[in-house]
Symmetry: C2
Subunit: 358 residues, 2 copies
DNA sequence: TTATCTGGATGAAAGGTTTCAACAGCGTCC
DNA sequence: GGACGCTGTTGAAACCTTTCATCCAGATAA
């Protein structure tokens, strides 16, 4: 058709994609309030510099348009995020949620928000979350790593995302870390059992890729050596994870041994294992602590409320989280920050599961 | 100096702020690989359209420059986020972390990531997180709300952020919801106690701003009425939160009553309360279930492992989370999505805390 | 040989915010 | 009455990516 001949127009009005996914932006607010774009931004970010009258106009325009600030755009331009992330090993373990509580406390005090992520002890998920968080340009990452010498983890700080390692002590060349002295914790547990006269002692924990599992075992061995016994005396039961279910499995294995070869005491790498172990032993007819003394680790809230209140190695969980967050904040705000490794000291809490009813 | 006279230049090179906070962007990668900007983007988003050779060049440039995609910019332009958030009431309660596990399962299957947030039963924090998440333009929000008729919550979907309410049944005009029938759960618990012959039954729960607390009590009352008793027979102990500590407090109050007025059974609004109650009662010399039968709610892992294994009303926790996430995904991808309310049925698990050792 | 097609690469525009140098009024001071 | 400050406001640039219409070169068909 001849109508097409009108194509001589220098500029056809190239119609672009018009998704209009969300709602009004600063531009619309500015128009509605009869002010400039920059003023709206000032109302948002530096309300004190704009006159009360203008501010009121802008605020009412925002309210009536249902304006929601686009954080992506803000962050893209301003270059900073008000979010910090804690990548936990396992949200089902009260230990980590207590740490998280400490983190949130410190973050809130500094006006930041916290996103929690869980790797569920899966290295791939951990890696995926690290990538995601780095791409999000979060202000910093707190992590209890599965794989503590992951190259991904080491590279993060050099690219601008501060990392603080929680509950592990790494070389502090790259990042700060907060931890509890797990070797000492293991020693405390085993010396306690040795003092009670136990000779056949089991260590229940695994997998060995988890640093805590290794360190607590190492502490256990040291305590044996200190008492003049060969470290090989420690009977090791390796589990696939630090969960109640795995604890039950270990209980099954223990209870199946003939009484003269069965350990008289078990030190578990955490309370979940200990609770599972306890439950299974009791239900299979072993008496605790008469037939088997049990020591847990972490002293979570439920350890105290267990069938037989658990002797456990207590860690300052919230303090751990709070300190970690504070280190992170320091790293991202203080220009002459220096990495440090903070180590807390664990404490043995003796209850019925080892001491009996005395 | 006369040199200054050269100011006739039409454009002075206005030097802007150059913070260079992070690292190399697509532009740098493109330059290093000797390709255009668009090609780099294609490698990132549609690798199949770029020739293997070019792709390899780009990928190696990325690796050597340590390129990290800027998610803010991506999201700003592309308009979509690959993240979904679950705003929980309390991360310390295993019930919610189990729900979270279900959510993550479903999200992972759909290629999304999950950020967890906790309001810690604080309405201000809930509001702050909702604002934050909306500003982040997350793909959608799963929430167990404190304040279920918050206007904030109602406005979210109309502005483009889908919301699914978890563990509460709201009017489905605005959003989908998944819940367990809490009224039925309350009935199950109380009918069980009535069958066992209990006459003075306490309900332990609070605060009354929490819907579950109210519904479970309502169920309890219904069961009484069904049995031909006045609902006012229910002895109510209001707590400040659903925690072990509050449960202990309730135990203190209960144990303080003279035996002839003290309830012979207590139904707790959740297992944490029940565990606290149990522990306190036992330590104050009350026998469970002989002096006081206890029924919990949720059937968390620790209920089974308690001093006296707890009778509890079980909820399909992971299923709850998975279903909620699936509804959310449907809402944000399926154009003719319809809001629905999914209700699951709870199940009474009878254990020693009510049935005794028989 | 020329016209047509195709797989790949290109480059400019767009997305919503913050930033900051410049500017407009207006009252003060000499 | 002109120079000067001070307060508030403005407008354009910049942040980094994705998108998409266009372009190019080489292959195939006519």
């Amino acid at each position: 058709m001849s109508v097409d001949d009108a194509e001589t127009l220098p500029e056809r009005p190239r119609r672009r994609r018009t998704p209009k996914p969300h709602a009004a932006g600063v531009k619309a607010v500015a128009a509605a309030a009869g002010v400039s774009l920059g003023t709206v931004s000032n109302v948002l970010n530096r309300p004190e510099v704009v006159s009360p009258l203008t501010r009121a106009k802008v605020e009412s325009a925002m309210a009536s348009l249902g304006f929601v600030r686009n954080e992506s755009a803000r962050q893209l331009r301003a270059g900073s995020s008000r979010i910090l992330a804690y990548l936990m090993l396992d949200a089902g373990n009260p230990f980590f949620t207590d740490v998280a509580k400490g983190v949130e406390e410190a973050a809130q005090a500094a006006g930041l928000s916290v996103f929690l992520c869980t790797s569920s002890e899966d290295a791939d998920r951990e890696a995926a979350y690290l990538d995601l968080l780095e791409q999000q340009r979060v202000q910093g990452i707190l992590i209890t790593p599965i794989d503590q010498n992951s190259s991904r983890l080491r590279k993060l700080p050099s690219r601008g995302t501060p990392v603080v390692v929680v509950d592990r002590a790494l070389d502090e060349a790259e990042h700060c870390s907060v931890a509890v002295n797990d070797i000492l914790g293991g020693e405390l547990a085993i010396s306690h059992l040795l003092e009670l006269g136990h000779e056949r002692i089991a260590y229940v924990g695994g997998p060995n890729t988890i640093g805590q599992v290794v360190d607590r075992r190492e502490g256990a061995r040291r305590a044996l050596r200190t008492a003049g016994k060969p470290a090989a005396d420690l009977i090791e039961l390796t589990t696939g994870a630090l969960t109640v279910a795995e604890g039950r499995g270990a209980g099954q294995r223990l209870a199946g041994l003939p009484a003269d070869r069965r350990p008289t005491a078990a030190f578990c790498a955490n309370d979940l294992l200990a609770l599972g172990l306890l439950q299974q032993c009791v239900s299979l007819g072993l008496r605790v602590p008469e037939d088997l003394a049990i020591v847990g680790y972490d002293d979570i809230e439920f350890a105290e409320a267990a069938a037989v209140p658990l002797t456990s190695v207590r860690q300052p969980r919230q303090l751990l989280g709070r300190t970690a967050a504070e280190l992170l904040l320091d790293e991202s705000s203080n220009p002459d920050h220096e990495h440090q490794r903070v180590t807390f000291t664990p404490e043995l809490v003796v209850r019925t599961s080892t001491r009996g009813t005395l």
